[in-house]
Symmetry: none
Subunit: 409 residues, 2 copies
């Protein structure tokens, strides 16, 4: 008999191709598309098989429910997302949903019920790969939607309301997906990074989601003719920006912690081969699990950049466009998860999540815990994404241990 | 009455705004656009006013012709270009065309005809700001088009042939713009550099055009999630490219001659703030009046870039897209131009052109001469570009003196 972990991985693989992808030659399953609806139908079937009742909530999340001994007790929510980026891997999101179903299936097979009900949420929109706003559906569940957030359309001009219509839903009632109150939220997710693999560990306890700062920087030099502007008389915005990119990399490397800093977007103007660049605009993204460390690095980076601009005589402005606080997981739940992990013979390791997850949204609703699963090479958002069935099986056993321990509190 | 030089400058100013620019808030007039066609119509009117007949040739160059006493004699061509870079100055190109028209207007007003006809060419594509290949239209006139050179498309995917259609032209007949044979080519152009201003001279005689090499470089790293890719494990294509930009600048500075090297265009992919760049493409433009010096610098740059790529473990390819030999002006014509200049009371000064010009292409057709006009601060390819009407008037008189001397040979 195949293990629950292996079956969870196999079901992710099954969901990786038509009719569960909207693209013929790669995995792309965006919120509210035909492939999305097909995936919901398949997953609902597996939920029913595992002993659950199912429903689609007002935000088009698929929810499976396994009753507890105390039917009115606030439930443990186990969830992740089933939408994907374009040309995605198969495990980012679905693996957490499939493992939740396997956990319930195992309890159901053993005739076990907890005091609390268990609800498995297959969130609809985490990636934001169709509409501009990500994590829309966990926001609805957590009750943290903001005004105007639903007034969005996809690249083809289809509004959220129009996209909801085939599901017999409407943006007017979207906020009714808000959850009445939960005991806890547990999410299993591939790490999307190389740390567990480097340590030789199948799973790890997430301490929280990194604090993030984002800036837009503008460097202004003087555009000039590439053939006639003597090297000594130039004010080259790109040369200045290049020095800045290296300073950002150096400061982040010197920190030698979980801190990361990235220049991901850069535009060079006027952008002709025969013109010395007069203006460069670029983004900086700085993250760390430790908010103070992040802020110190940001200050060091901005100081270095101002120094480079002053030295080169270029203009420099920076604008902060994002400031996301660190979202720590619940210390008590982390201890429960770690105890369950140690009981499976895994060396305990705690790590911060550089990426955002539905868990950081659900933290507004209830205490949260996250379990990271090793993924090959740390590769994600890429068809080469890979999770090992044996690791998934360990994750499943840790989740079951966590549920037992939560029930025993 | 306004002087011819001042009128030439004023007409450049007139051509600097709508409807002669394709952008509402800056000057951008690319080859074969609506603004380009509008400029041709205005300039053709001025040519007719100056006593010329006009036509559009097979490469969409506007040509005005002022007959000579010997109608079948090979003509003196006076020309420059009317296309511009993005966010351009108003004098780079158009001033040479306007001064040519003023020279003919002065002869016409005086009832003077030379033995030879005079043709004023307003070249269509010198900057290469729409299609990748620059100086396409002077190449057509000089008969130096190469196979495949017309098989090009702009950034929106519009082919040269499609862009020619509104002008009732086709790439199939483009080469028919080839000139049957000319006596000489004269081009007046702003210096686009600071030498004449530093010497306090309004105009100078150009000895030749610097040798130029151009490359497209592709740096390939590994795209990754900005939040989960640890600094030590990244292969960031932009950080590698930044190091390369600084190496190029350093090598060009160390040369401490007329050598210049420029990274003018850079594209970063995928170009999202939360993704570590996986690929960067940039251009390198290297120029010197001394071809061997240029080639030594290019070799040093490519060696340095390969070293950076190897050190960082990124992919690296470079493709040479341009190799323009140094193009000397004709010694006899230089002497005529200098004699005309001295007759205007200007101290003689000869200088090399770092920028390429249509003159270097026309050298394949006939002997060439170029007159540089002082421009404020050496600034060009920039809206701050400025030419003094008094300098333009001196340039006009030098050109008329050159024409007289050529006629007297």
């Amino acid at each position: 008999m195949v293990s629950g972990g292996a079956r969870a991985v196999a079901r992710c693989d099954e969901l990786g191709v038509a009719p569960y992808s909207d693209a013929p030659d790669m995995l792309f399953r965006a919120y509210l598309t035909p492939a999305f609806a097909a995936a919901q139908r398949a997953i609902a079937g597996w939920m029913i098989e595992a002993g659950m009742t199912t429903r689609i909530d007002a935000a088009a999340n698929l929810v499976g429910r396994y009753e507890g001994l105390e039917p009115d007790a606030p439930p443990l929510i186990i969830g992740s997302h089933i939408d994907s980026v374009r040309d995605a891997g198969r495990y980012d999101g679905p693996l957490g949903v499939m493992l939740g179903i396997e956990a319930v299936a195992a309890l159901h097979a053993a005739g076990r019920r907890m005091r609390f009900p268990i609800e498995i949420y297959a969130f609809g929109d985490e990636e934001g790969s169709r509409f501009a706003t990500a994590m829309l559906t966990s926001r609805a569940v957590a009750g943290t939607l903001e005004p105007g957030m639903l007034d969005i359309a996809d690249a083809r001009g289809i509004s959220l309301d129009e996209a909801l219509a085939p599901f017999e839903l409407s943006d007017l009632k979207f906020a009714e997906a808000r959850h009445p109150g939960a005991l806890a939220y547990l999410e299993a997710h591939i790490e999307q990074g190389p740390a567990l693999e480097a340590l030789g560990l199948p799973v790890g306890v997430v301490t929280g989601i990194a604090a993030q700062l984002r800036y837009i920087v503008t460097v202004t030099g003087v555009a000039g003719h590439a053939g006639t502007s003597a090297m000594t008389l130039r004010s080259d915005a790109l040369a200045a920006a290049a020095e800045m990119v290296l300073a950002i990399e150096r400061i982040a490397r010197e920190d030698a912690s979980d801190l990361v800093a990235t220049v991901g977007r850069m535009e060079v103007a006027p952008g002709a081969p025969n013109v010395v660049p007069g203006k460069v605009v670029f983004t900086i993204d700085i993250r760390s699990g430790d908010q103070a460390r992040r802020d110190r690095a940001a200050a060091a980076i901005l100081t270095a950049l101002r120094g480079i601009a002053a030295h080169r005589g270029t203009g420099f402005t920076s604008e902060q466009t994002n400031d996301l606080a660190a979202s720590p997981c619940d210390p008590r739940l982390m201890d429960l998860l770690e105890a369950a992990l140690v009981a499976q013979g895994v060396a305990p390791h705690r790590l911060v999540s550089g990426a955002g997850h539905d868990a950081m949204i659900l933290a507004a609703l209830c205490p949260t815990a996250m379990l990271f699963i090793r993924c090959a090479g740390g590769i994600s958002h890429n068809p080469a994404e890979h999770a090992d069935p044996a690791d998934a099986e360990i994750a499943l056993r840790v989740m079951l241990g966590f549920i037992e321990r939560l029930d025993a509190l």
